[in-house]
Each structure stands twice: as structure tokens, then as C-alpha cells.
Symmetry: D2
Subunit: 366 residues, 4 copies
Amino acid sequence: MTTIADERMIPATVGTTQATMKALVYGGPGQRTWTSKPKPVVRDPGDAVVRITTTTICGTDLHILKGDVPSVTPGRILGHEGIGIVESVGAAVTAFHAGDRVLISCISACGICDLCRRGMYSHCRTGGWILGNTIDGTQAEYVRTPHADTSLYHVPANADEDALVMLSDILPTAFECGVLNGQVQPGDTVAIVGAGPIGLAAVLTAQFYSPSAILMIDLDANRLKVAGDLGATALIDSSDGLAVERVMKLTGGAGVDVAIEAVGVPATFDICQAILAPGGRLANIGVHGKPATLHLEKLWDRNIRITTRLVDTAATPMLLKLVSSGKLQPAKLVTHRFALGDIMKAYDTFGNAAKERALKVILQNG
Amino acid sequence: MTTIADERMIPATVGTTQATMKALVYGGPGQRTWTSKPKPVVRDPGDAVVRITTTTICGTDLHILKGDVPSVTPGRILGHEGIGIVESVGAAVTAFHAGDRVLISCISACGICDLCRRGMYSHCRTGGWILGNTIDGTQAEYVRTPHADTSLYHVPANADEDALVMLSDILPTAFECGVLNGQVQPGDTVAIVGAGPIGLAAVLTAQFYSPSAILMIDLDANRLKVAGDLGATALIDSSDGLAVERVMKLTGGAGVDVAIEAVGVPATFDICQAILAPGGRLANIGVHGKPATLHLEKLWDRNIRITTRLVDTAATPMLLKLVSSGKLQPAKLVTHRFALGDIMKAYDTFGNAAKERALKVILQNG
Amino acid sequence: MTTIADERMIPATVGTTQATMKALVYGGPGQRTWTSKPKPVVRDPGDAVVRITTTTICGTDLHILKGDVPSVTPGRILGHEGIGIVESVGAAVTAFHAGDRVLISCISACGICDLCRRGMYSHCRTGGWILGNTIDGTQAEYVRTPHADTSLYHVPANADEDALVMLSDILPTAFECGVLNGQVQPGDTVAIVGAGPIGLAAVLTAQFYSPSAILMIDLDANRLKVAGDLGATALIDSSDGLAVERVMKLTGGAGVDVAIEAVGVPATFDICQAILAPGGRLANIGVHGKPATLHLEKLWDRNIRITTRLVDTAATPMLLKLVSSGKLQPAKLVTHRFALGDIMKAYDTFGNAAKERALKVILQNG
Amino acid sequence: MTTIADERMIPATVGTTQATMKALVYGGPGQRTWTSKPKPVVRDPGDAVVRITTTTICGTDLHILKGDVPSVTPGRILGHEGIGIVESVGAAVTAFHAGDRVLISCISACGICDLCRRGMYSHCRTGGWILGNTIDGTQAEYVRTPHADTSLYHVPANADEDALVMLSDILPTAFECGVLNGQVQPGDTVAIVGAGPIGLAAVLTAQFYSPSAILMIDLDANRLKVAGDLGATALIDSSDGLAVERVMKLTGGAGVDVAIEAVGVPATFDICQAILAPGGRLANIGVHGKPATLHLEKLWDRNIRITTRLVDTAATPMLLKLVSSGKLQPAKLVTHRFALGDIMKAYDTFGNAAKERALKVILQNG
């Protein structure tokens, strides 16, 4: 099995005569700069180089900036979401050509290895989440995307870029890790804990399966209101610590069929455990930094199932269809819009999400 | 919804003129006696009264005797497994008649309520695990079985009672909670932690799906040997605390597709978490008295699934077919045999399982 | 296994002193009368007698009147759909009591037999479709319903009877046989052949799974228009015999993911075969009187699946939830309304469906 | 989407200076020769050239020779099964290198297109069954295999080539089209119609799921005996036209859960339809040249499912594991063995299968 060219192995001098571009570069915990970097080139036969037209910032990028993601080293260009125009492709790329408008998936997948063949692209032996993590990412004027044939998607004509950039990460993440893994079925009662962009994307995509109720649990009144606008049928303010009691009351003591964890801390995972009906599914989306307590002494005989998942983006073609047909309108998650050159300011806004009432911020290049 | 007659509500004097029988009666923690009790009678239209011909003792019965199961109160006849002959049935029973030889399921199910209609008999609104728990059980000369139509099974002619009594509880438990929930598939690598009767029943029933390897992990050399005789392909002595390392080595660092927890303590649940491959399934069978630590900080992106389940016995008809066709030979789990009148001695033997090399003990009545 | 009391076996003299009621009685091909019949009584312990408040007429009733259903013999009261108030119940009925408002399922199921235990209520050993077929049905002032515990459903307070009577048959039929068997998934392209009440119910319930396109194919302009109002995204008039060509053009030559046959003749089954994409599912709902030609010479390597099904009504509890939550509005299928005493006129209207623009006709009793 | 180099488009003069090899060449209906052909070379970046060490003959090759497969044109080298050593690879091939010992799948798949992404490799936009069909095949000293990364498999060390060459086509075909599509479950009753190599491979692979009975139906006493040796539990000689009656009698009138059609003519498809129990699955494997009559007038309410499939070879990695672990022993299907140079004689033997008692013939090269 071959491996992807790792930029850390390539001496800095290699790029000296290269063209340059501007990019958002991680400089260690708390440090980010909008600065010049060499413009990327095709290195492996499966690569494409894409000129970014639209990108965005993910909650994960804030985690990186806190120093919480050790795989990201100083000097790395951040970003794993984007839309752009193909500039050039390697010799082995067959599905894309220069000039094609493409959606960049947050997951790079070879399509060949045993895990890709099982649809588990997130664990591709030479891919997975590498963009803006172990190789340079999309918050830049250009990006090199490995395994282009299986990691890019053609953008339908006339498609709305604001909507589509939501399909790089948060829509497939909410759908695959939350809705699909939670096996949401018609008539189900679904609780979603956390009304950030991912939790709200779960509100949107849970409706693909016509649950009879969607309960949103969060601390932030504004975000709860947005959840209601997007389709949540009950809004539960958990700031007084009584979310579990409220859910049990709302469900007549039965609990919920599906609990979707979209925060990533023990307290919210606890809420999810406590509200599951017998036969219920707990679908974790949150990125956890600590263990949780699993109450097996209560759950061992409850016929429940708990799932975790890193998004595989296997659902991306389906999501593209539903955006094209107008059934899915992810642009509703966009609250702010900046020029790519103003990305430092965009980070400030996104980093103060509660105060700024920010969900997703769009960055446009030219 | 009606409720099942609860014997605790019925004054002791009711039975004074009834015929009596002998039964194994729980007297509080550490206390059991083989003593006289009123012979049961039909109370609800759906009841059957069955004369026990074969019964056995479950690990759960030992837990009850330790005082670990608060729903079991002093005076209760224990036992939730058995074969017998129907003595009499209530007016609503249509599928069974006096004289029929029947297998008694450890789960009583009405077949009507919302949870039964979803196949979750274990959580039947008026049933579930009640025999030898909240109503009198099968370690007696006679037992009253509620919801007879949906909780008894006709015994095929010429069937071996030793084999069939394993179908009251441990075979469906191992199969449904371990093998089915673990989604064992052809070619899979399966690890089973715990080589007690349930873990060994998982070895037998995992083979229904042709895994390429079955790794058994236990502390007891004799039980490991039995596991090997029943079909385990690798035997891992975990007494030195290095089970995880051994599994990872045996799997070339990949981990296992399915980990089946058949003990019920945090340490064994930990082993299961640690050996799962990406995409792996952890199927809990063990009865847990304490919480476990769930390592979400490692597992959140591993695409794993964890399940719990109280046996539904939905698989019992299928297991009966496989015993009849000779594909399943659960009598291999029987190590000792007693007359029902010697049940006190049988408990002594079963309670010293390691020393006595006991797995399942058969108790025969007449 | 016991059998359901068959009224044909009971001498006519039995009812002489019984109270009487009015009922729609089949008198042989082409013959129906609204006439007096003995009011039914509880015969088996599992029976309920229900006073009908709302009923309706099914396309199958018209087939019976043509003499196409040999199991229906002269003297039979027709009808297998209805809402009513329980009058009396047998000794074994536990979930319903006199005065309860109930939905009557078109399928009677014992809940006990091997096929019921597998959820295949339609093939219950002592039930299935018997109402208005082998026992007297619901187009009457009263009806006896066997297996009441597993064949009736409590009606939610404040529920709309017009909507709910659609749940006796056509909604679960369209959903289970068409949508579930067709495995409609988000983003799919679904074609439905036949815009009668069942096909239109398939339009409503296919939307539970968010297909990107629903193509309705029919000969009747009015029914096509209704399909569009209910959610079909493309309307294909097949009167010129070019439906296949139109579907292929609309799908860019790809064909459809799901084809739902809702007519029941060889020609419409042929359309379904011809428009399936590789990997497509053909879900038959139609009642067929003749064989069809299966083009295995074209289909053997197309990875398709064809299903048939008699409705099991296993989905009825879910459909009740979605009606209660307002996500499903089957009352849209009601075009006409009569007093039960005017059922002869209602049959005339329903029998001239095209001219009368009739879909479902509601019959109300008192 | 790029297309695979089609050799028909390349002028014959191109190969004039190439090295030559020997190959079995189709010359039109009834015509085959073992003759010299240019040795293939890498043309596309995803190609490998493989030196064949073992190959075999498929029933499909006989169909081609009868002229039944119009996509095969005179001059084509036949064969779509084989094991060999990689000679050279194109620039885009990453998983294989010269010297690797490989299993060649009968299906070539790009891994990139929409259908490959759904696991439907058989319908790959630029692949599918092309070897020995629209491009030159494996009955030769060398073969060019397109899409090498996703169409070849590493052969485990010490593996038996006789066994493995059965994994090019017949084992995955019988398993995927018959056993998987038939959803064989533990305890099921399975009927297989046709005891040729494919039907016998279905006997082997149906046992992965522990059915309680496997009924083999065929006209040939020798093949029935082999089926019994491989695990069939009942052997039904259909030469008197009474196969249906025998199956119904053997199943106590119930019919079978799964019927696998492994012949490809209307008469055997009819048997399958007639023996299905309610809820049964009919899995077609046979290659059909004519339509069949589908008895919808009997089947519309039987809750059955009929599937067709061209093998996707998605199960090949799993089958490799089960061969390595010794659970699957496909070499039992090998009856004859020839040197590759004697392939003309091998065809004679295979073409007289009944008389020669031939199942699979092995051809070895050096």
C-alpha cells in the first residue's frame, strides 16, 4: 500500500521558486496568521489542485487553535471544507479535469483499500481526515486534494455555493453519524443534544425520515429558536439541569427512540443515556476529549445501541441530489459572509458564536 | 392494559386447602430451602400450569442468592428455565392443551403490547423476565406460566430434554444478545470474553455465521479447553492482564470485528473496548452491577457500535429447528445431572463451578 | 391451533331471536343489497363486537362484486375498513373494553402463530384478510372482529375519523407493499404506476423517506392532477403508450430506483420492469388476476428485486403517530361523503370513479 | 468518465513487433483455437499485465461458443477466471507490483463511478464483466487487467491455487446472487435448483448461514450425489417432473424459505416460484435467454421477493478469509486437471460434463 506524500517530509527549500498564495496558517496554540505560502502542485498521480472559491470554518478548527488536536503541527494550513475550480490533475485522475467546479469532501479516500471497499472512507488506509490536519487544507487560495477521483464531487450547474459548502462536512456528518447511525424511522421521537451547526444539520437531515417529534436540547435561547425554525418540534432549555426530566415528561415517561449527541462532553452524553427508551439508539457525533461514564448497571437490559462514527461522506452524492431537488436547504445555516482575505475577522466572529449569533460563516474568494 | 396476577398481593391463607408440591424457595440473601409450597393453579385466562420434568440452575440464580437482585423477595420460588408437561390451561389459551410437552421460555410475553409487537418481548408491558423473579419459577414440581400461548413452545417428538432446557435461556441469550447484536458475519474475527455457560453458548451460536476466527478469553484453563472443544480457534488466558496485547498480536494489530462481553464487570468490558477494530461491534451480554468507563476520547471516531439487550427469545423457534436438525448440540454444555429432589446439592456443585468443573447442571423430576 | 368460528358453518336458525341490524350484503356477481341481518355477538373469547361509526368502500369490494374473488360467497356482509365503538368483548380480550373507540384493521391476526411472530400478520394461520371475505365485514351497523387484541387499535382523542379510516387498509397497504418493500431512500427516484387511492397513498407515504423525485404514471388527467397536489414531482400521461420512453427521458436514461405497481394488470407490470435502473426495486401492490411476463432475458444481470405482499398492517401504530403529529394527512384522499344508509348510492359513485372524480368515499353511521 | 481502451478500436498492425503468446481464441459460433496472439501490454495507467498460472473454463464460455453472447466477437481471447503473477503495472496502480501473486476477479471495477461507490461493481461504468467478453481474457499465457487496484486480490501465502481460482467467479456468484440475495438465515429451508458448479457452490456457501435443510433438485444422479457429499440434506431427482410435489411433501406442505435458481430456463424458474413459502425469497443466478411466466395471480399476496444479480465480487475478500481459515474448501469442485496447452482437450471434457462427470477443470501454466 502506497502512502500519501506527507508535506512534513519535504524540505522547505523545495518551494522557493514556486508561485505563492495566501493561506490561513496555524502557528501553535492560539496562533493563526493569514500569510503567504507556496502554491500547491500535483505530487501524486491521484492529486488535483483546486482554486478555492468558497470555504468556511468548522468548530474543529477552533479545537485545533486551542491545541487540542496534536496531529496538527505549526505551519499547517487549516480548513477541510470548500468549493473550487480544478486547476490541474495528476495522471491517474480520470473523473475530473481542469476547469471543473468541484465540492471538496472533508474526507480523502483511496477507494481501493479494505476499509474504503467497506464504505468506511473515514478510515481509509492512506486518507481519512487529512485536509487541514496532516496535510494543508482549504482555507487558502489553492489546495492540493489527494485521491481526487474519490474525494471530489462535480457541482451541479446553477447550484448555490453557500448551500454546497455545507456538504463538505457538517451535513454528511450530522446525517451519517447522527441520523443514519441513529436509525431514525418514520414516527420516531428524536432528541438532539446541542444546537450548534452540527446539531442543526441533524434537525434538517432527521426530517428525511419523518420522525413524529424532534426535541432540541441546548443552553442558548437563540440557537433553540433557530432549531425551531428548522423543524424541531420541542425546544428544551437545559440551563437549569432539568433536561432529562423535561424529556421524560414530554414523552409521557417513555423516553426517546433516538438520542443524538452533538456536543462532545460527558454531561451531554449522560443526558442521552438517561432519556433512551428501551430499544433506543444513542448516536454520538460529538468529538470527545474525555471518557464518559456508561451506566451499564441501568442499561445492560435495555436493548439499546450506542454508535460512534467519523463521517465517511458516503452520503454526499445523495445529499447533492436533495440539494438539487430543493428538498434540503442547508444555506439556512449560514449567518455571516466574508471575503477570504478577511478570514482573520471571520475567525473572531465564529469564535464568539454565542455573542455574534454565528452559525456558519462563508468565505468567498474573488 | 391488564396486569399479571402478582402473587405477593394474594394472602397466604388462599392456598391452605390447595395441593402442595416441593420447591426451591429463596429466603433472603444466602438462604435457600427445598420445601413445600402450594401447587399453583390457573389464575388468568392466558395461564398454563406445567409439571416440570427437567430444569436447571442459572448464574442469575446465584446472583439472587447473594441478594443482588432486589426484585426477588423472600418466599419466591426460583428458576426460569425448564421443560415439562402441561397440566391445565386457562380459557384463553389456544395453542397448548393438557398433556403437551413444552419448553418454558425464561421470558413471558403477551404478544399484544407495543413492545411485543416490535419483537421486544423482554420488555413486554405485562411480562418480560418474571419467572423466578417477580412470580414463582421453575425450580419446583409445578409452575404457573402466564401468557402461555406466546411463552411456551411445543417440544419436537424424540427431542433430547438436556439439549432443549438450554433453550429456555442461555442459548437464546448468547445468540440474540451476543451473536445477533454483534452482527457476526462470515469471515469475521470474533472475540468472546468469558467462558462460562453463556460465553460457551456464544461459541456454539457464533458458528451459525461462519466467522473465520473465534478468540475465547478467560482466566480458567478448564473452561478455555472446553471453548476450544466447542469451536473456539484461539484460547487466551487473561490471568496475567495481557489479554488485549495478545488479541492485538493475533489479529496483526487490526483488532476484532466483534467483541462479546459475557462476564458483566468493568474489567471485561474494558477489554472489549480496547480490542475493537474500526467498524467493530461490542455486544454486551453480561449483567452489570456497576457503571463502566466508556473511552469516548478514543472511540468517538472509530465507527463502533455497542449494544445491550435482555434476551427476547424471539430466536427460540429457530433454535428449536437447529437442535432438531442436529446442527446445534447444546447438551455439550451439561456437566452434571441430579434428581430434582437433590437440588440443594446441585446448587452446591454449581456454586463451586471452577472447582467442580461445572457448566450446566440438569435437574430431573421423575 | 384453534380456528376462527366460520359463520358459514352455523345454521341460519341460530340467529332467529337475535337483534337485527342493517348491512350491505353480497348476493353473487353484480348483486348487492342494504338489508337486515342478525346483529353479531361475541363467539370466541378473543372477539370484540364493534358498532361502526365510519366505514368506506375499497376497490377490492368492486372486484368481489364482479365475482372475481371466489372466497366471498353470497350472503356475506362486505367491508374490511372501519372505525367504531366497542360494544362487547370476549373473556380473553385484555386491551379493549366496551366504550373504547377503535380503528379496525383490514387484517385480523392472532399474534401467536409462527407467521404472526415473524410480523407476517397477513398470513396469520387463523386470520389474515377475513373481514368482508370469509367472515362478515364492516359495511354494517355492527361487526364482530376476531383476535381483537391484535387487530384493533385505540383511536387517539380528537382524531379525525375521515383520516383514520384510511388507516384500516389503503395507507398501510401503500406504505408496506409499495414504499417499505420498495426500500425508498432519501434522494431516490420513485415511479408509481396507477393514481387510484392506493397509488395516491403511495405518493403520500413515499415522502416519509424524502425521495428526490416521484413520477406518477396514469391515464386519467384528474387523478394525475391530484397526484401532483399530493407531492408527485412529475406527471406522466400513459394513454399514448409511451410512458416508458418518457420515464427514461426524464431520468436521463438511467431509469428509476423504485417502481411501484398499483394497478394489477400485465401492462402496468411491464412498464415497471422496463423502467428499473440497475439495482432497482419493483414493489408490486396490485391485485393480479393473470400471470405477467417476466423479462429475465433482460433482467437476470440487472441486480433488481421484485416484491409482492399482502398488507400486514404492522405499520399501523407508526401511521397513527404520524396522523396524530400532523405529518400525514390522509383525509386528502376523501372526495365524497354519505350516510351509511346511503351506501347503495355510495357504491354507484365509487363504481363510476373516473366520471365522478371519486377517490375514497366516507360512510358515516349516526 | 474515461473509457477503457477497447481492443477492437486498435488496428491489428499495432502489435506487429510485440512478443507473442498462446491463447484460446473464439472464432465465431462453434469455433475455438489455441493459437498465437500478441502478448498484452499496459495501455491505461490503471492496468496490470498478469502471467497466468492457473485458469479454468466456465459454463458461460460454452454459451459464448454456441453464439449466445453477441457482445463476444470473433478474435476474442476467452476466459474470465484466473490466478497469476503480475508482470507489469501502469503508473496509477498502487496496490500491486511486479512479482505479486494475484487472483483475477471476473469483474473489473473502477471503484470511482456512482455504481461502484454503491458496491455494484458488476455495473461499473467502465468495467463490469469485460474480461473474455469485450476485452481479451484469461485463457492465455498473459492477460491485461484494467482497473487493477480494484479488480485483483493478493493471494495469501501457501494458498491452494485450485481452491482460489474458484474465487474468480463461481464462489462469489453463488454466494452473492444465490445465498446473500436469498437472505439465507439460520434454521431456513433452502432449495437449490441445478447441481452444476454454480449450484454446488451455492450448497457450499449456503452453509455459511446454517440453514436447517438444503434441498438439491437436479436431473443428474451423479451431480445429486456430489451435492449430498458437499452438504445438501435432501436430493430430489426432477427427471419425472414431480420436483414441486416432492419439495412440498418434504416440507410438510409449507414450501421453502429460499429457492435458488441455478440453471437459467423457464422450467426451473417455474419450480422455484411454485415451492416458495409465504415470505420466501427466490434468488436467481441462472443466465436466462428467454422470458419466464411470473405467476402474479398466485404470488401477489404471498409476501415473496425475487432477485436477480450479476456477481459484484464484493464478497471476494471475505471468501479469501474463509479459504485461508479452512472453513471453505472450494477445491472439492475440481474434477479434472490439464496443462494450459491442452485447453482444447479440456474444453471437450467440460463440454461433455454429464458423461465425463466434470465439474470444474483446472488448467495449469508451467
